[in-house]
Amino acid sequence: MTLPSFDALQVGDAIPALELPPVSRLTLALYCGASGDHNPIHVDTDFARIAGLPDVIAHGMLSMGWLARLLTNWVPQTAIRDYSVRFAAMTQVHEKITCTGQVTEKFEVDGERRVRLSLTTTNAEGQVKLTGDAVVALA
């Protein structure tokens, strides 16, 4: 994988988006097992209803994992210096999520050229679920 060119990138440029298939119960069950987060609110509809929700909700960290895929589809993981998110809204089962990233800053630290990206996950209606920020080192 070749790194995107620091010089060619401009503030405001978007990186290639990542579109996910609708969140299925199977995906939530797999993430429950793979992540080790066994909170029933993500897989047990009975439990979710007792908790006052219409249905199960996706793990916030699953969405953060998708946003990490957005980054590693664009650059090798070794280029990621910092990555953080805020969980703004719940992602419901069946929602179709899109991950996007945009360059917000170009800067240099200790001779290393870096870009800052703003990141979001949104549903099909454009509701923002996660907002985040990543710093990536580029050649």
């Binding site: 797999l30 080790g36 994992g65």
Partner: protein, 150 residues
């Protein structure tokens, strides 16, 4: 109110083995299609010594603590009122299948907003590998919601 005396409290360190099978399972669960994360030959061709630990999997490994409820219990927080508010990672070097990672958790801050209706716990976790090399720092903000809606 959470007792503010716990600001600065450190938890007992623990170590977790990074299992190859678990990494493949995580790749499947997150829809990962890049073979670097599932195929050792592809990982080596990309310059890695083994399957790499993807960025957010460090959080899952942190949850492999001998007592994942330790901080919650220490601070007396009702899990039904908890939300994961924010999560961050600063990466220093890669981690791989077969590594034994050490996690050192510290309660960095406890604060409240909205007149105490919401309390926040900032946890910082230093991750190092079996050679003592600094792998990453994790930041987690947990929100404790007081009030009837919780």
């Amino acid at each position: 109110m959470i007792d503010r005396q716990f600001i600065g409290h450190t938890m007992p360190a623990f170590e977790v083995l990074v299992e190859k099978g678990r990494l493949k399972f995580f790749a499947k669960a997150t829809g990962q299609t890049d073979p670097v994360y599932t195929d050792e030959a592809a990982a080596r061709a990309a310059g890695h010594p083994a399957l790499p630990v993807p960025p957010t999997f460090l959080f899952c490994l942190e949850m492999e603590s001998p007592d994942p409820a330790a901080i919650r219990n220490l601070l007396g927080m009702d899990y039904r009122k908890l939300l994961h508010g924010e999560q961050g990672f600063t990466f220093h070097r890669m981690a791989y299948a077969g590594d034994v990672l050490r996690f050192e958790q510290r309660i960095e801050d406890i604060y409240d907003k909205k007149g105490g209706a919401l309390e926040f716990v900032l946890r910082k976790t230093r991750v190092s590998n079996q050679r003592g090399e600094h792998v990453a720092d994790l930041r987690a903000v947990t929100v404790l919601r007081h009030g009837p809606s919780a």
